[in-house]
Symmetry: D2
Subunit: 311 residues, 4 copies
């Protein structure tokens, strides 16, 4: 039964829901909004949902650090997909409301930086009230509590509102990245444009430890796309590092780098290898010389010959 349910960071009408609906399989699943990222991931862990879509980078709905903390700790989970969504807001109002009528606006606090320039230019005297989510803000406009809400244009229908202005967004940080998380299983096959996520926790942080971890990647020509350090909460100097690396665990350069991490820090957790949403296989930057699977195989063969004295 749970195989038919996908959890997501709710409530309904959020960008996370929109991101989830971009996945073809979402059409055949029951989509269940959850109150928080931990709640969404707990639903997966408990078997209540087959997977959960949660924001992991650059969110306008919060949750990023919660996502990283949840993936780093507790019962293991794995990432199977990523979704990139361009974030633009609409100003939602009750039908008939004009711009000049708007005295109060609302949205999730994380949305405020995306719309403040627009607000300053167009509604400089409107009062801002924070809502628990962008969708909740829309509901409060529907109830008449505020005059307008910033939310995704798609939320208008749900709450009987109309989009008075659309395509509002700050110039920068216009994309949010979401990941589809499930219980551990064999990763999908490499596509040629893949990403591998890991989190490494260090109990006794030595100076230079982070550098050593990064060298495990760099020495094998594996580029990093993201690195985040997160305190573990167990005292000063105890950090986890979440890293996204180019390539798939089935690539030999990635596999050897991961083994290097494992040897340095037993507390490394594999979070999955999955297709990149930002580029297609034809657009991936070329490998550094000597880091292809063919180069690894050639080097293994050479080593075997040396060990046999056939040089």
């Amino acid at each position: 039964m749970s195989a038919t349910r996908y959890a997501y960071l709710g409530p309904e009408g959020t960008f996370t829901e929109v991101a989830l609906r971009t996945l073809p399989e979402a059409a055949t699943r029951e989509l269940v909004p959850m109150v928080s990222v931990p709640a969404a991931l707990d639903a997966v862990r408990s078997g209540g949902a087959a997977a959960a879509l949660v924001p992991i980078e650059n969110s306008v709905e919060g949750g990023i650090t919660a996502t990283l903390d949840e993936l780093a700790g507790g019962e293991p989970l794995m990432i199977y997909r990523e979704v990139l969504l361009s974030i633009t807001f609409a100003l939602l109002v009750r039908p008939g409301t004009k711009l000049s009528d708007i005295k109060t606006v609302t949205a999730h606090p994380a949305a405020q930086p995306q719309v403040r320039n627009w607000l300053a230019a167009n509604l400089p005297s409107a009062a801002w009230e924070s809502a628990a989510s962008n969708a909740d803000g829309a509901r409060l406009v529907q109830e008449g509590r505020y005059d307008a809400a910033f939310a995704g244009e798609f939320a208008a229908a749900t709450y009987g509102l109309e989009p008075l202005v659309t395509n509002i967004h700050d110039a920068e940080n216009a994309q949010t990245r979401f990941v589809l998380v499930g219980r551990p299983a064999r990763p999908s096959s490499p596509t040629g444009a893949d990403k591998t996520s890991v989190v490494i926790c260090m109990e006794n942080d030595r100076p230079g430890a982070l550098l050593e971890l990064l060298q495990e990647f760099s020495v094998r020509g594996v580029n990093l796309m993201l690195i985040q350090s997160r305190p573990t909460g167990e005292g000063i100097g105890n950090y986890c590092f979440a890293v996204d690396a180019e390539g798939h665990i089935a690539d030999r350069r990635v596999g050897e780098a991961l083994m290097g991490l494992k040897r340095i820090s037993p507390n490394v957790r594999f979070l999955g290898s999955y297709p990149r949403a930002d580029v297609s296989p034809g657009e991936v930057s070329p490998l550094r010389a000597g880091t292809s699977d063919a180069a690894f195989t050639e080097a293994s063969d050479w080593l075997a010959r040396c060990q046999d004295g056939r040089i």
Copy 2:
């Protein structure tokens, strides 16, 4: 006038306010809650406030990524102080409410991970509703909309509530780190236990660029305490790195490392050198041999002698 005002991530009754009140000078300032981190920092930029306290790490009130993005871009700001606050929640109720009366609870979604274990054990059937902030949740309990709110115990008095249970928190991540941000000025003198924050943005991310940045620190024996990468929103491969390093910009090892960053990446922004809140000067880990100011001076003297042929 603005010199008397300190902004903070509001509303009133948040942990941020409590953190701000731990600073002695807060007693003589007007403390002004702001709707979001960007709003708080804009108040500083515009001269409406002398400084702003905002969460920067491990928050239960959101805002971390907004804080990093705001410090990385826009009109320059600097960090002058940091505050560490142990986060524990109280369950606030209207006077007379008993645990068995509670059917609905509320709080900011970022608080949910901190209380979910307690909830599962003590109020397994209570319905969760998200609030725009923990303080707002308390207000909604006061208004009778929910039965109980998780918030700081200090918020009880503000909203005429009483703490039914106190000291609720998840085992991990129990501290939040806040920074006091102001307009640029000369940093305070070194105390012997200082931290330096910078953000480096790379327009054309090359493989290995992050490693090069980190080597500027490691080669001079400067330990890193935090590293975060943030996409700049200007396309794939454009990232900013926020780094906290041990030491003060007046320390020669730190100064030389910063100059090294500047030469690699013109787009480096100094965010301040300020006293560490986690350790006192007597507790700082010892410097690596050869990285003290005395060692730098000795090496400079030696270089001058070599340049003169007095070897």
Copy 3:
């Protein structure tokens, strides 16, 4: 037939011969002096000798750079043993000669630095004449051409001389290292205190290329004991690096490091894994955590589990 012959850097009566005679198997071989290191190694390559002993580090008989160049190029050879020999000189004279009789002294020029302090203190006015080898100097004394020769005390008998003074040596650099070189074959099994020699040639030297090579060792915790760069003679920027690393090619950390070298630089040549002469297995410095064969195996197992989704 050749299996019974060992070549060495001659002529007879050199320290190289003494070093060769420290090997137990030398007692059953025909020992053949050769005019130069290349000549000795050519004898091995051509099948005229089963092996050759030649100096490779800190010699008082020359040949070091020739040894490195010969091992780096031409038909592949491998090192099977190393011998360390403490070098002290005797002053050899015709029977009856007294110190006050000595007006002329001779030896190979490379011996001169080892005896000059002694000469300045004891025979300040003696004239030095260079000989083609220390043994040749002894012969010239026998022939009456010079009054005294510096050579190994063992050379006295060969040339009918007597050691007037023994144990002459400069305080430093008192050991010479020799290697026994043969045609390629399977290395002997690890002893627990082994050394691995390789030479890497780079056709187009990029800045930082050497550093990359060294990182292949350091990232896997393999210590280097010796590093030498040698120009290849094919133009500026074309260098070979000869490296001695702790450990045996059968050790997984060493094998993985060698494969890393091979991928960076196809022109890497394995020169052998053989027992260290400087320490016994019980005296080897401890491995860095995470670099034992057991740690490699554990990491491989973990990787296989991750690839299967069993995390």
Copy 4:
């Protein structure tokens, strides 16, 4: 008086003498052959000579390791010039001797690898006898002791011989590098194509120590042209590293790298900054971005502004 004397690795008629005569100032100096590299350098130290020319890389006359050891220890000396000399041999014979008359040949053993291919092809049955130097070999031919000597063509006149065959050399390693060494003084000004030599000794070799040293160069974009490790003779693990780096001590990137070495290892010795003989200023490879003196100045200015709060 000594200011008029230049010592060199003798005897007369060596390639070292030829290399010395390529220096314009040699025409006005008294050129004094010395028996060994240490003897030549001692003459400088004692004031008996103003400078000494000695081989330091890829010599056919020996002396390289002696040169490195001498520069690393004892009274400090500095390198002021380098000379590159293409090495080709002539076969010198007494007038009238024909190739078919030659039964014995002689030369310094270090010359043998350069001529062995020619010998195998042209005089396969000639017997080789080693001489103490190539010049000494020529003298022995003059005396009738051998039939022919390999030496520089220039040596023919000195010993009344004639060059029967010229331009004999092995394909590789055809250049020898010599350095002109004097007592310490201010280095000559940068030319735009300079080289800086240092030697670093480490008393307690830690794993990774060499890598740390090299990173001091690489992190500042200073390319290395040569690296040699030399045992100090004071026990296992005590090594000196001789390094040639691109650039001049007056270049800020080089100066900062040298200070970094000095802080890591107090036992670093500056051996001089001097013009490169291999390339002219117009042919030097471009600097890495951010490592010019201008970039260093800009970074210093920026640091000063940060320290003042003017960001």
